[in-house]
């Protein structure tokens, strides 16, 4: 039922001024990519001093050889800004050219302010619109879709997309099933207008019924109620009885993952999303030069490539060996590495897909810069 307009409402539409809107260019493309790999390398042997596992088991199950660990004082903002500077250099642009910054992350440890405005300030983009985007491992590809839309709508001319994670802060060393998976790092891309299509229509979505498959072990509010020495409410407020786990090492909200169930979802469902993304882009797997899936696990990547019947000529990103799973950072990190090594070249057609906690996913075909 529609409510009647209030009595003081302005008279009919004919007398209203017509609001001005924007319209942008028809096409966009990636103008540059960059990455930041923290200096400290933790190989499987070193990690296995802290967890009950082995180099052989980790390689066999995940393809991970080592991961990077940011220094204690090296923040999400630091890493994101470093990758952003590299992407701006690649694009031949400066911070002043950027109208909007989107930072995809789930490990910026400040609920507020977001990381993006601080990164923007560091880059000398004083008035850029800037916001964080929380879509976990799908975050970068979500943000590329947003950047494409912002530019084509005329809202922005150049958008900086950053994917950055410091997952070592949320790694549970008591859990041998996940402790080897996560790594730290950042990747970034500059998106701008183009004369020809450089970013295809994005295929994206979510399925919150699988929310528990990859999740924080407890909410921040639960952690506070369980572990704070006293209530942070008004004096005299009742303490909310929230059961405290017996294990004192459980005090922190770690990232939990049901590995085999996530693996199954990726093989059964995400491979199909790749095919939908190719259809949406109007191409087939045979047209691809490069496949850059979120670097979740080498076994997932192999299974997806097999299920998609990816032709042998398509280069498949394998940055997981060096970086482990860096969530929102993995796709731009892998893209930068493929271009740096010469395994992919500017102008190549790449299918990129992010998928993970939410559950959430996004995929698009891009022309590499």
């Amino acid at each position: 039922m529609t409510a009647a307009p209030p009595a003081h409402a302005a008279p009919g539409p004919a007398r209203r001024p017509r609001l001005r809107t924007l319209r942008g260019p028809e096409f966009t493309r990636l103008l540059g990519v960059g990455d930041h790999r923290p200096a400290r390398i933790i190989d499987n042997a070193e990690l296995c001093r802290h967890i009950d596992s082995s180099d052989e088991w980790i390689r066999e199950r995940s393809g991970i050889v080592q991961r990077r660990q940011a220094a204690p004082e090296e923040s999400v903002v630091d890493m994101g800004a470093a990758a952003s500077r590299a992407a701006l250099d690649y694009a031949g642009l400066s911070g002043a050219d950027i109208d909007a910054v989107i930072c995809a992350t789930i490990t910026h440890p400040w609920q507020t302010p977001a990381a993006a405005p601080v990164i923007a300030d560091r880059l000398g983009t004083p008035h850029a619109a800037a916001y964080d985007l929380a879509a976990a491992c799908a975050g970068y590809c979500y943000a590329i879709a947003c950047a494409d839309d912002l530019i084509r709508s005329g809202r922005a001319e150049h958008v900086l997309v950053v994917g950055v994670e410091k997952l070592s802060d949320y790694r549970d060393l008591r859990d041998r099933g996940t402790a080897f998976i996560f790594g730290d790092g950042a990747g970034a891309a500059v998106v701008g207008p183009s004369d020809t299509p450089g970013i295809s229509a994005t295929t994206w979505g979510s399925d919150g019924s699988g929310a528990e498959l990859i999740s924080q072990s407890q909410s921040w509010a639960q952690a506070q109620r369980r572990y704070a020495s006293h209530s942070i409410g008004f004096p005299g407020d009742p303490v909310v009885a929230d059961a405290r786990p017996a294990d004192p090492d459980a005090a922190w909200p770690f990232i939990d993952m049901a590995g085999p169930s996530v693996f199954r979802w990726a093989v059964a469902t995400v491979s199909g999303i790749c095919s939908q993304a190719l259809d949406a882009a109007g191409i087939t797997a045979a047209d691809l030069d490069v496949f850059i899936p979120h670097q979740a696990n080498a076994r997932i990547i192999d299974a997806m490539a097999k299920k998609m019947k990816l032709p042998a000529h398509v280069v498949v990103a394998d940055d997981i060996a060096d970086m482990a799973n860096t969530s929102a950072a993995s796709v731009p990190l892998a893209t930068a590495e493929l271009l740096r090594s010469g395994r992919a070249r500017p102008g190549d057609l790449a299918l990129q897909i992010g998928f993970g906690a939410g559950l959430a996913w996004a995929a698009q075909v891009v022309v590499l810069p």
Partner: protein, 83 residues
């Protein structure tokens, strides 16, 4: 999908296992355990389950997978799910 005989299911499963792991179809015998005898890890098991669901037109929920310890368990489960 029409129901299949146990032998047909076993043969189909053997093809899926061979495709995923390279294990010879003839080694996929009813009394073999997936983990101990065939050395199939939890991730390969998930790929096999996904492909079995497609091939046999059945649903095998995550919480059922751990109950499928032997080839016979899987064949019986698929046969009853098809029925």
């Amino acid at each position: 999908m029409s129901t299949m005989t146990s032998t047909e299911i076993q043969d189909g499963l053997a093809d899926i296992i061979n495709e995923e792991t390279g294990i010879d179809q003839a080694d996929v015998e009813l009394d073999k355990s997936f983990t101990e005898d065939l050395d199939i890890d939890s991730l390969s098991m998930m790929t096999i389950v996904v492909n079995a669901e497609e091939k046999f037109g059945v649903k095998i929920p995550d919480d059922q997978v751990k109950n499928l310890k032997t080839v016979r368990d899987a064949v019986d489960y698929i046969a009853s799910a098809q029925a």
